[in-house]
């Protein structure tokens, strides 16, 4: 594994609504290693998009530090700050909303090229835009380059969106649910193209999704981080995490997901939660936020202490970090009986 290119350190973020603070992220710590495939997964409202926006610098954290290439981004000024802003790009979820309908594809892609002085003159700009469109497999380019977004399909738009993120030669791309709006039959093609970008352009991609199977496919050689109610509850090597999930939430999640195989999915054993209600972010339970639902809840521990990410005592490989006190202690989990 290589050096971290980005690092989040005890990130908190809250939003104000009707004079109450809603804690969307709490104590989030992780590193993005250079050229790794990292995937953040979680259900709606777990804070994965907010984390992505904070990585990309679109949203400041309420507190905590963000490091890019070893430097705290809040201390960056002038050209160093510009370098960070250029180097970390984001691809949004909805290609129908993220492209300006009044600009042609060429205009959209050439604007950042001119702005950051990557090109001089129209001839050069067109050449570079052409290259970028080829890179994202929007070929034949002459059929696409002068079109408006409404003339393209959803999959094609998302490719334009990716090409736009590439205009500034980024080293990190945050892809927020970038294939969820695209039909199943073309989704994998898009994802494979993104995965190839790593090798072709040396960019690190942080992929955010709610779909664990997709996360597994994308980050097979990399890592997955699982989020729940604003906290990272488990992060580790994908193959390890999928085969032996450690955190109770990850276990429950993996057991609940239907699979595209009738016999297998019907034979699957589902772990029952103690409660199906997801707590509101404004009324988070004490201790571990998963404890009111956790099948392996330990009274007097889980409802008191807030678990932080750590390596479980009985794990010698150091491949996974888990935020669960009983798991960290290396205790055998026992189903809670009230």
């Amino acid at each position: 594994m290589s050096e971290p290119i980005m690092q989040l350190e005890s990130i908190y973020r809250s939003f104000k609504k009707d004079r109450t603070d809603i804690p969307v992220l709490q104590d989030v710590n992780f590193a993005v290693n250079n050229l790794e495939f990292l995937c953040l997964v979680g259900e709606s409202g777990c804070g994965k998009t907010t984390t992505g926006k904070i990585l990309a610098g679109l949203l400041p954290p309420s507190s905590g530090k963000i490091y890019f290439e070893g430097q705290d981004i809040t201390t960056l000024r002038g050209s160093a700050r510009n370098h960070y802003r250029r180097s970390v790009q984001i691809i949004h979820q909805d290609p129908y909303a993220s492209l300006n309908p009044t600009h042609t594809i060429y205009e959209m892609l050439s604007f950042p090229l001119f702005h950051h002085k990557f090109v001089r003159g129209k001839h050069q700009a067109r050449e570079r835009v052409w290259e970028l469109l080829e890179l994202v497999d929007l070929t034949p380019v002459e059929d696409v380059i002068d079109k408006y977004p409404y003339q393209l399909s959803g999959g094609q738009r998302q490719r334009v969106s990716i090409a736009r993120a590439l205009t500034t030669n980024p080293s990190v791309i945050v892809a927020d649910e970038s294939v969820s709006m695209v039909d199943v039959s073309i989704r994998i093609g898009l994802l494979q193209m993104m995965m190839n970008l790593r090798d072709e352009l040396d960019v690190t991609i942080v992929f955010i999704t709610h779909d664990l199977a997709l996360a597994k496919y994308f980050a097979w050689e990399g890592r997955i981080g699982v989020m729940y109610l604003g906290r990272l509850v488990e992060i580790g090597k994908t193959q390890e995490l999928i085969a032996t999930p450690r955190h109770p939430y990850t276990k429950v999640l993996l057991s609940a997901i239907p699979e595209p195989d009738p016999e297998k999915t019907r034979a699957k054993r589902h772990i029952q939660l103690r409660s199906e209600d997801i707590p509101r972010l404004t009324e988070l339970p004490d201790g571990c936020t998963f404890h009111p639902r956790c099948p392996w809840y330990v009274e007097g521990v889980c409802d008191v202490d807030v678990p932080r990410l750590g390596i479980p005592a009985n794990d010698s490989n150091n491949t996974v970090e888990v935020a669960c006190i009983p798991v960290q202690r290396g205790e055998e989990l026992r189903l809670y009986e009230s």
Partner: protein
């Protein structure tokens, strides 16, 4: 009126539907035929714009104003054996048919409740609209159903919709859908937009309900996993046509149509091995000017010369497993190579 087999509740014959739009006629449904048996769960799977919602809306005659049914019939068999063509029902008959014989739960069901009325009121209103005004009996039946969907019956029955979470509303709606004991329940994307753990709860509840109440289900989904989990029969819809239909295991393990085969090869799985996935080239066709011959031919990896000329019909190969393709052998071969 055509004859129907005893165990069939719904029979769709040669149904075609066109949407008249400024840009031209959109052929949203083409010669669709299928049968739904009693107590069976059938999944319509397909991508956005494939026409699966159009098919289901036509079953309760809820198509938008610019839609026209150009041919076909939708036969419904009552429990006493009486057969009706839904497309020929009068407005009064239609009002009775909807909800009492066939209920539909729409996508985004969370918004289906009136926010200013208590859940109880909405159950009572539904019952009264169908001539059932004994509030006590309605309450008793409702509480039973709410219990069946694993909710706290008393609490939910007296609650306003905003007091319930998304998953609870979805389950309340499922209870409401079977209030009048319909024979058919149509579900449009029943778990889309719900969280994974809520999805699991809904699937379990639906399986329970179907087992106890024995109604038939038609559900529309783009999620193949949901079909694998819940359906007895799966139909693949592409460009307004059912291109393959069969028992769930046949469809998943022995699919005969290149499109179904391609979809399955594009879905990541959660087992402990690395997935080898391929997507289908090209994009779904425009239904104003669909391709000639087989509508899938421009994207098909097994295309033959005749595919852009002759339209393949849904033909039977193995029992009840039907596929509309000229080159099924190639799909069978390709599967062998996969293993």
């Amino acid at each position: 009126m055509g004859k129907m087999k005893d165990d069939v509740v719904l029979q769709v014959d040669d149904l075609s539907i066109v949407y008249h739009t400024i840009r031209g006629d959109v052929k949203a449904t083409n010669n669709v035929s299928f049968e739904l048996r009693k107590g069976e769960a059938m999944a319509l799977i397909g991508e956005s714009g494939s026409g699966k919602t159009t098919i289901s809306l036509s079953l309760i005659r809820k198509l938008p104003k610019n839609a026209e049914v150009t041919q076909g019939q939708v036969l419904y068999q009552r429990e006493n054996g009486e057969v009706q063509d839904i497309l020929q029902l009068s407005n009064r008959q239609l009002r009775e048919f909807r909800w009492q014989d066939c209920a539909m739960v729409f996508q985004g069901a969370q918004n289906a409740f009136n926010p200013v009325l208590k859940v109880s009121k909405q159950f009572e209103d539904t019952a009264r609209a169908h001539g059932w005004s004994d509030k006590k009996a309605v309450r008793q039946r409702s509480l039973e159903l709410l219990k069946l969907v694993r909710l706290d019956p008393e609490r939910v029955y007296d609650a306003y919709p905003h007091e319930l979470s998304g998953g609870m509303k979805q389950r309340t709606l499922l209870a409401l859908s079977v209030l009048l004991s319909p024979q058919i329940v149509i579900l449009d994307e029943p778990t889309t937009a719900l969280d994974i753990l809520t999805q699991r709860a809904i699937i379990d509840v639906l399986n329970d309900m179907q087992e106890k109440l024995n109604f038939s289900i038609i559900f529309i989904s783009h999620d193949l996993s949901l079909a694998a989990e819940m359906a007895d029969v799966v139909a693949t819809v592409y460009a307004g046509e059912i291109i393959e239909i069969g028992p769930v295991n046949d469809m998943f393990y022995e699919s005969l149509h290149p499109y179904t085969f391609g979809l399955l090869a594009a879905v990541p799985k959660l087992d402990h091995e690395q997935d080898v996935l391929t997507s289908i080239k090209g994009t779904p066709p425009n239904l104003i000017n669909p391709p000639s011959g087989c509508k899938f031919h421009p994207r098909c990896r097994f295309v033959l010369d005749r595919c852009n000329v002759d339209v393949p019909a849904l033909t039977e190969d193995l029992g009840s497993h039907l596929a509309a393709c000229w080159n099924k052998e190639a799909v069978v071969e390709a599967r062998k190579e996969q293993v």
